[in-house]
């Protein structure tokens, strides 16, 4: 049974319901969508005893406010520096039980950009092609395929109060990887050969500035134009993390809602393990690229996945 859980008072910027990605339809032109920062999202879901990819709120808000309609249990991770329940500051990195009429405020004064808010049992959202993730550009999933706005009511299932209140173990909070200056690993892309050695050396030795053009489709970098020898290539497959170099020279990094094909040279692809770090960079922040081999990227990703799976499989807190 779906119950109305919360009423949004202040939705902030780009707030959507996200979940496991829409996999298997890229050959028909449909983006994957899903979490921009899957680490924070999985931690938020873990806090309230959900499955790793349950439907939760993803938001670029600096201030997010809502009112509780039915009792629920909340887990917050990602870009949040303070949680207030009815005006009282409460601890971060811990699940909170909320009562009818509670007023919740979330503030972001961190170097991170994206907040995740999970409710025990998950939010209710429209499932389209196997996923409830919101794809704004194509109006799929989530809440009518749109970012939600103030006054929207989000529904969920009636939850059973967990016996223990979970806290994120020491050192695992997602805030640890937020920074004004980040370095991400990049695997050389299929069109790297279209760039001279000098341009490639510059690409991997200069810091780029994240512009104000950030969305779930892509992040545009600026500050150090990169030029290819040729731009005359047919449209090819692109994935989240793909770094495209358009003729303007300002690199575009495709994100979760990015298209499935693109016609700009693909300089490289951000290693999956570092995509959450990149996603959390705020506009005005700096990013450096570090060349890495696919084998190394896969190893680092396996390590990341392992500690999350271990956290989920710990029996003691159930």
């Amino acid at each position: 049974m779906d119950l109305p859980l919360i009423r949004i008072i202040n939705s902030g910027n780009l707030s959507t319901l996200q979940a496991v990605c829409r996999f298997g339809f890229s050959d028909f032109g449909i983006p994957k969508s899903g979490f921009q920062d899957s680490i924070s999202a999985q931690l938020a879901n873990w806090l309230v005893g959900n499955k790793r990819f349950n439907t939760l709120i993803e938001s670029y808000a600096n201030y997010f406010e809502f009112e509780v309609i039915n009792d629920c249990s909340m887990g917050v991770q990602g870009a949040c520096s303070e949680i207030r329940i009815n005006g009282q500051s409460v601890s971060l990195d811990q699940a909170h039980h909320l009562r009818v009429n509670d007023r919740i405020e979330l503030f972001n004064n961190t170097h991170g950009a994206i907040l995740y808010l999970a409710m025990a049992g998950g939010f209710t959202a429209t499932e389209v092609l196997g996923s409830t993730a919101t794809d704004i550009a194509n109006g799929l999933g989530g809440l009518n395929g749109l970012p939600f706005t103030s006054k929207d009511i989000l529904k969920g299932s009636k939850f059973n109060m967990p016996r223990h209140t979970r806290s994120i173990p020491e050192g695992l909070s997602s805030r640890r990887y937020f920074s004004k200056n980040v370095t991400v690993h990049v695997i050389a892309g299929p069109e790297a050969y279209l760039f001279t050695k000098e341009v490639i050396d510059n690409f991997y030795s200069h810091a780029f500035l994240l512009s104000a053009e950030i969305s779930r489709v892509g992040y545009r970098l600026t500050g150090y134009p990169i030029h290819a020898d040729s731009y005359n290539i047919p449209s090819k497959t692109v994935l989240p993390g793909t770094i495209q170099i358009p003729p303007s020279g300002d690199p575009i990094i495709l994100m979760a809602d990015g298209p499935v094909t693109g016609g700009y040279p693909r300089m490289g692809v951000v290693a999956k393990v570092d995509q959450p770090i990149l996603a959390q960079l705020r506009s005005g922040g700096r990013v450096r690229f570090l060349a890495c081999l696919p084998e190394e990227a896969r190893l680092r990703e396996a390590n990341q996945r392992q500690w999350i799976e271990e956290l989920y499989h710990k029996k003691t807190e159930r």
């Binding site: 028909f28 092609l129 094909t261």
Partner: protein
Amino acid sequence: MGSIQWRYLGEDAIEISDISSNIHVQLGLRDYLKGFPKLGIASFMLTDKTLTLISEKYGFTSVSHIIDRVAAYQHKVNENVRLPLRIIPICYDEAFALDQRKLEDICKLDYEEIIASHLNAEYTVAMFGFMPGFPYLHGLPLSLSIPRLKSPRKIIPKGSVAIANEMCGIYPNQTPGGWHIIGRSPLSLFDPLKDVRPLNLGQRVKFERISKKVFDGFTLN
């Protein structure tokens, strides 16, 4: 397949490039690889002469085994198992053919000649991309092969049929876009709640001219 050109696209995907431009060879290779589930390939993307293989969650079992399989692939064209011809209605009314004048100027043909040429060709669905359900149709006559618009249009209406370079495409939904618009089809090409894939890769397509009146009847349904 002889010597194999391939590159990584991130740690989770590899691209086999310079395969035949024949869509049936491309689909043949894709379907052949689907016969080896242990290789760890979760999905496939076809683009211009390129097959992208995307791995399952835990990566490919062995990239060198995949390349060996690709090299071992021998294509036997069986033209008898082609997908049925799909007829797509199109209305060339000037209310829909937003680039009629430009097309006449660039192609140096009058619009009835352009229409005749567009209707006469048989197309093949070569890939999907750009946006959900957008088919890239190969087979555009050379007389209609023109570059993209210099600056993209901010709004292209849903159903617009457009041409650029050597391809024809259909915009399944309203979007910005850079191809010349030749007419409009009332056919729905992307409705995730109904028919997920109204067109398929490799399918043959022909356009059938309809009047504005018939078009209006379609959209009322």
